[in-house]
Symmetry: C2
């Protein structure tokens, strides 16, 4: 065995830009790897703070702050993509391993660039056209249509479905892109991990169900209610995209399955993703542990699921503000195969992601019964 295949392992220092729940779960997964985590987040009460001795309050959008935070670390990664790409680039030039790479983060930050990338590489996506301003939009739109701001979208923010010309919002941020309104049958996602060694592997596809009021994932199930063929195609496209991006780390690829059974890439996130939280309980290696392996150049783990799984977000109740408490924990945990994961947020706010529930089952029917049984059981309120 050559030294390259079997290097000596020194427990590394890893910096995370962002200290929210994705960072919290990344730290949890990284503990067995002996990693010393450092976290940068503007919120002194961020989810990572209680479990990170090297928690630093500051802006991950500021290049100097990012550089100073990461310059002495072995690896810097992200749990949110809206970070300073300049800061990441300076770290990479300084010799820090930055995964995902700054160029990938820059591409993903801009939905126009992201969409053009799919088109240029022959990856299936909905039709689109770039627009520079409101007049440009008016001249190119055929209603109904979707308008997306190129930058700063998150959890559906910056995305507008326009049914008529008079729905044009005055507050829209330009430039952006117009996309055909897809006749959606299902929303699906595949998380792929690509290691710094070039190895890639996908987690089983999941099906997402959205809460229309909050425009957040409300529930997901895996495996999804689609053919084996669609599942395999999703895995193939996710790997193709990861390889074409040459990303190191996780890439969560969201798809639309339209009513003609075409699988279209909607968008991608270069980090752990809400659509993979069930893997903490449902798979031997979670998305978070896989990300750790990928960015450390370790062999990727087996992504096979133990069985059927569902995940339900725990959102703050619609009118609740204040110190968080939870009802329904005892009856929930009394159900075999039901788990909760809180994000350690002290304050509850309307629709704030406070945690999630994971359900494990041996069949799709058993899973559906458990979803019905547990839905609205656990509530986050003040």
């Amino acid at each position: 065995m050559t030294p390259k295949q079997n290097p000596t392992y020194h427990a590394p220092t890893v910096g995370i830009l962002g200290g929210g729940q994705l960072g919290q779960m990344l730290i949890q997964a990284g503990i067995p790897y002996g990693i010393q985590f450092h976290v940068l987040d503007p919120d002194p009460e961020a989810s990572c703070q209680p479990i990170c001795a090297h928690f630093q309050t500051g802006s991950f959008k500021d290049a100097d702050t990012v550089f100073e935070f990461g310059k002495n670390l072995d690896v810097v990664t992200i749990e949110i993509e809206h970070v300073s790409v300049d800061g990441l680039k300076r770290l990479a030039q300084h010799g820090v391993k930055v995964y995902p790479q700054p160029e990938v983060v820059a591409l993903i930050q801009d939905k126009s660039l992201q969409k053009q990338f799919y088109a240029q590489h022959g990856l299936p996506t909905s039709d689109f056209v770039l627009v520079n301003d409101q007049d440009d939009l008016l001249s190119k739109a055929t209603f109904p249509i979707v308008y997306k701001s190129a930058k700063d979208g998150y959890d559906g923010k910056g995305v507008q479905v326009l049914k008529h010309a008079d729905q044009l919002p005055e507050t829209s941020v330009f430039p952006g892109l117009l996309e055909e309104l897809v006749d959606i049958d299902k929303e699906l996602a595949v998380i792929v991990a690509r290691s710094s060694t070039g190895e890639s592997t996908t987690f089983p596809m999941v099906e997402m169900v959205f809460n229309p009021a909050a425009n957040l994932v409300e529930e997901l199930i895996s495996p999804p209610h689609v053919s084996q063929q669609i599942q395999e195609l999703g895995a193939k496209l996710a790997i193709q995209l990861a390889e074409k991006l040459e990303i190191v780390g996780l890439l969560a690829v969201e798809f639309f399955l339209n009513k003609k059974s075409n699988l279209l890439i909607n968008e991608a996130a270069p980090r752990p993703h809400n659509s993979g939280h069930h893997t903490i309980k449902a798979n031997a290696v979670s998305q978070f542990e896989q990300h750790i392996r990928a960015i450390l150049g370790l062999p990727l783990g087996n992504t096979k699921a133990f069985g059927h799984a569902a995940m339900l977000n725990i959102l703050g109740e619609p009118t609740e503000n204040g110190p968080a408490q939870y009802s329904g924990v005892n009856p929930l945990l009394g159900i075999e195969g039901a788990f909760f994961h809180l994000y350690g947020k002290k304050q509850v706010k309307p629709y704030r992601k406070m945690g999630h529930v994971t359900l494990l089952a041996h069949s799709a029917d058993e899973l559906q019964q458990k979803i019905i049984q547990t839905k609205n059981l656990l509530k986050a309120h003040a």
Copy 2:
């Protein structure tokens, strides 16, 4: 549903006496419960320090230190039993929930009391006699025999097998007890959890294989190579012991199976235990998560294993001292179902527990093959 069955959940503050690897894994398991952990340990570089914002350096053997550490917390628990019982008692009187209870910790700390407890409650254990000093020992011993100091034993320290009268050690600590030398066929263990609600449940029995040089568990497998009847008897005895002790939290019960197939209780530990580390990967609910549920009065989880599992300790190589590094990580993680868990210890020392390897398999044969394949693969050295 009455309020008692469905109380509102407020993420609690939990103090842990001891900040070693058991504490590290307890924190890891407690993250989803939104717990704010506080840890007390004399070593500023203890395993818990990097993942605990409320890490406090100090002696858990000092009553005042223990009281001051815990007096404002919701729950105080332990990851080592050699703590100040007086400190625990003062906390309990102050209104802090102390689990395991101070009286249980006091009983377990004293091997003579522990052994008498088994005898008094009709629980099977090897024959024994209490001894006060060396003359007492000489007058009561029939060689070969085992001498155990009543207090401060740990990982086999304080236990001596005496083959002849002239082997009597001058350094032995008295009082203690003489035990018959059991004709051991196998060493087995069952971890039981008992909740503050009175609910009890056991993890599947494990079989332990010891490293004679280090006198530490080197490898364990689950399920063990014993009959279903013995496994059920072990579970029954573990629950009986937990209930008679009225312990809240985990109790790890170690057994001898003698060559006449009698199952004898050897000793018990009122905390997470080395014989349950595989449950992090091999079960939906680990021993650590179960301990959290037990001390918070939450419903206990399903302890069924996903399949066959083994655990191998990663001990410091016999002559190594210095900053820790590891060889063999890449080939190990390249094996499907093989995982490692490091304890974040900066310094390696001979036979120091640096981490463990977990192996998952679908059959006993596959498990044995993986044990052979991985044994001595991962080494901790300077």
